[in-house]
């Protein structure tokens, strides 16, 4: 069931009336949430629901009883092996099978690896990461062992199973255990859902349909200027799409009495790549930092090893998005970008002025460079193939500025305006969000109708997709 369908609205509103029945114990509410989550998953596929149930039982047994038989290291190793196997079987097998066969056929060897007709279970990429957080937190004694229903709910919680955000067990399980659960900030929740619809239906879908998809599908069929505009447009397309999705599920979770982690913090305001990763898909980047980068040694094993760890962590982050060369390159590019920053930190003296005109210029120049590097890397992330990405870069490299200014002034100006006014837009929406509690209930529908009516009038036809649901 799509979160943006009429069915879901009816389902969710009905569910909320049962869920918030007075005097219902929190255990019953948790059981209702489990039932709702499993129903939604089973509507996609009963097999997916069974896989999730089996996996949840395994995680519960491993985290709660594993220490009776295994050492901490063995528990981690077993968990990593199971997740790795699941990812290989469901997510990466076809990619590796094809790549290996093609590689061997180039040197004249015909290898016939078996074919697997398997579907990627919905939410696997997200609930497997949730499980890591729970098992590690229990082993580190950051969290007491949770009950079976609590573990099951933590792994299946429907607002964040499709495309995150990745919930930390230390922050989420206490919310499941809270017996004083309450419907949180309903006006803010409604505002977030409205903002999500605006971002998804209007901004993201419009950019995708008019500027991004046609060009990325066939870069050589479009001019260098159109390729450049498509690159910028995709940066905003994926931002509006994913942050819109996050706003939507954050609003839904508030109605259920849960707070999801902040996943976006105005990422295109970042003035370097390290800062970008503290603002973009924060729940994933902090997960990669805590559960991959730091266990690899982080910055504790010398400068060179630190850079290797950075590159490895970022490449793994790329591979997590999917089995494709383009994702690996995207991750590696970000890793190399961070390494470059580290080299600069080593070589260049620290800036003397943190305030004043020079600092202002430096900060804005840094933001400009960072934004363009991120856009450049997005080319690999979005392209259907490595060849298409190269083709697009080739097209952009032939850009003739006077022609671009003469024929594409409007879209280029719009891109520039969006970039420059982005800080204001961010402050504006943040201001409304934080003050949404002051809206009057009576007149609230009028404001929401105006915003949504505008969005639906200008939006392209059809339902927008959640880009991150594919990962």
């Amino acid at each position: 069931m799509n979160l943006l369908s009429f069915e879901f609205i009816i389902f969710f509103v009905t569910f909320l009336f049962i869920y918030w029945l007075p005097f219902l114990p929190s255990l019953a509410r948790n059981q209702l949430l489990i039932a709702a989550s499993y129903t939604l998953i089973a509507l996609f596929s009963l097999q997916f629901a069974l896989i999730l149930l089996g996996y949840s039982l395994f995680i519960y047994a491993l985290a709660n009883y594993g220490d009776r038989l295994l050492t901490k290291k063995q528990i981690y190793l077993l968990l990593a092996s199971v997740i790795f196997s699941l990812f290989i079987i469901f997510k990466y097998y076809a990619f590796f099978q094809e790549s290996i066969q093609i590689a061997f056929s180039k040197i004249g060897w015909q290898i016939d690896l078996p074919l697997l007709n398997l579907l990627l279970p919905i939410g696997l990429s997200y609930y497997s990461f949730h499980s890591v957080s729970y098992v590690v937190s229990v082993q580190r004694q950051e969290l007491p062992k949770a009950r079976l229903t609590e573990v099951i709910l933590y792994l299946c919680f429907f607002p964040s199973i499709i495309a995150g955000p990745i919930n930390r067990a230390t922050l989420f399980i206490p919310q499941i255990q809270n017996s004083q659960r309450a419907l949180l900030e309903p006006k803010r929740a409604l505002f977030l859902i409205t903002l999500a619809l605006l971002k998804l239906f209007l901004f993201s879908a419009w950019l995708a349909e008019n500027m991004v998809d046609p060009v990325f599908n066939d870069p050589s069929g479009y001019s260098s200027e159109q390729n450049l505009i498509a690159m910028y447009a995709y940066a905003w397309n994926i931002y509006f799409n994913f942050s819109g999705y996050t706003d939507l599920v954050t609003g839904i979770a508030l109605f259920l009495g849960f707070r999801l982690p902040i996943n976006f913090n105005a990422p295109y305001l970042a003035s370097n790549l390290k800062e970008f990763w503290t603002r973009w898909h924060i729940s994933l980047s902090s997960f990669i930092r805590d559960y991959i980068y730091i266990p690899l040694g982080g910055g504790r094993k010398g400068w060179i090893r630190t850079q290797v760890n950075v590159l490895l962590a970022m490449t793994i982050s790329g591979l997590w998005h999917g089995a494709a060369t383009t994702f690996i390159i995207w991750g590696a590019l970000h890793g190399l970008g961070v390494i470059f920053l580290n080299i600069m930190d080593l070589v260049l003296p620290k800036a003397k002025h943190r305030f004043g005109f020079t600092a202002f210029i430096r900060r804005n120049l840094a933001r400009f460079i960072c934004f363009h590097f991120v856009c450049f890397a997005w080319i690999f992330f979005r392209s259907n193939s490595f060849d298409n990405a190269l083709l697009m870069l080739q097209q952009i490299s032939t850009l003739h500025f006077p022609t671009a200014a003469a024929h594409y002034a409007t879209p280029l100006l719009a891109t520039a305006l969006l970039y420059f006014f982005y800080p204001l837009l961010v402050s504006f929406t943040h201001h409304i969000e934080t003050h949404s509690g002051q809206f009057k209930w009576f007149s609230y529908p009028i404001m929401l109708t105006i915003i949504l009516s505008l969005a639906f009038s200008l939006a392209p036809d059809g339902m927008p997709n959640f880009i991150y649901a594919n990962f």
């Binding site: 609205i9 909320l16 007075p22 099978q97 007709n117 419907l183 529908p445 109708t449 009516s453």
Partner: protein, 350 residues
Amino acid sequence: MMYNLKRLLLSCYVVFSTGTLLVWLHQNSLENFWQQSYHSPPPWQSMQSIEAWQAGSRVHHALASAAQVFWQKMQGQTITATETTVLPSSATTSSLNESDASCSCSAVANIPEDQIVETEPATAPDIIQPKEYAQLKEGDRVFFAGDSMMQGVAPHLAVRLRREYGISSIDLSKQSTGLAYPRAFNWPETIRTTLTKHPDIKLLIVFLGPNDPWDMPASKGGKYLRFASTEWEALYRERIRTIIQDAQAHQVDIIWVSPPHMRRKSLSNKVSYLSQLYESEVRDAGEVFLSGNQVFRYTEDTYSDYMGDQSIKQKMRTGDGIHFTVTGQRTLANAVFDLITFTPTQANYD
């Protein structure tokens, strides 16, 4: 405890009021969406006779017209009486529906009689022999029409046509479209206007189907026609024929690609039925038909993520069991490309 229920009731008041206002304002476009998604009339249909309900559509129309005029003025365009007249979507719809109902006639109304192709289901296949190949020459253009399946295939084909023959193309393929719900997207109308606007189009490639196997509204409104019923089939065939006749009237060759089997058995069976309709109409009209099942070497009613005979060990289909991987898209694009013959100009021979 009652505190949560109070908050919920207030939130429901906002959701319900906002939802009602939005449906009231956008009733026409939402009706199209409802038809396409649920294959039945919308729940608010009974209210359409109420004057106050109809006012919502007029308010939306007035606002849309004002916005359009504002936009045109901002762009420095002169506003003429006809330019400012924006038909409400219901009016547009009814005119489109009328054209559907009489599509065969209106489609050929402006075409010389000698160019009109027989519209009845061909009873004499010996008269019209299906073409084996579509013909293109330098300067011609190719037009892609279809749904999300075509959105995946068209770019690969466009690249090959441009690289190997220097042929340019127009891709109007759009997700969630088909022939069953012309109010949502009218392919016969779109194809007709595009062919008129671009006389250099000499090949039309059509690839659609999975959005269509449902009950659909009759041309003149009223009860929905049951999928695969005699009336349903007659109307659907008429729409296929309209497309074919319009193309032939513009001396445009057609390659019609039928969707291959789908993973979900019920959908696959329905799509197979549609494919039979495409095949019979296209072959009877003497145009080129390409079976998706043949391309993926599926036999009988089997489905596979890979080639049916496993001759290529690369995935062809995506997880939803409907669409294609990049390899699958290329495979289809290459199969279509092989059905095109290109004649360079004399200068190129020299």
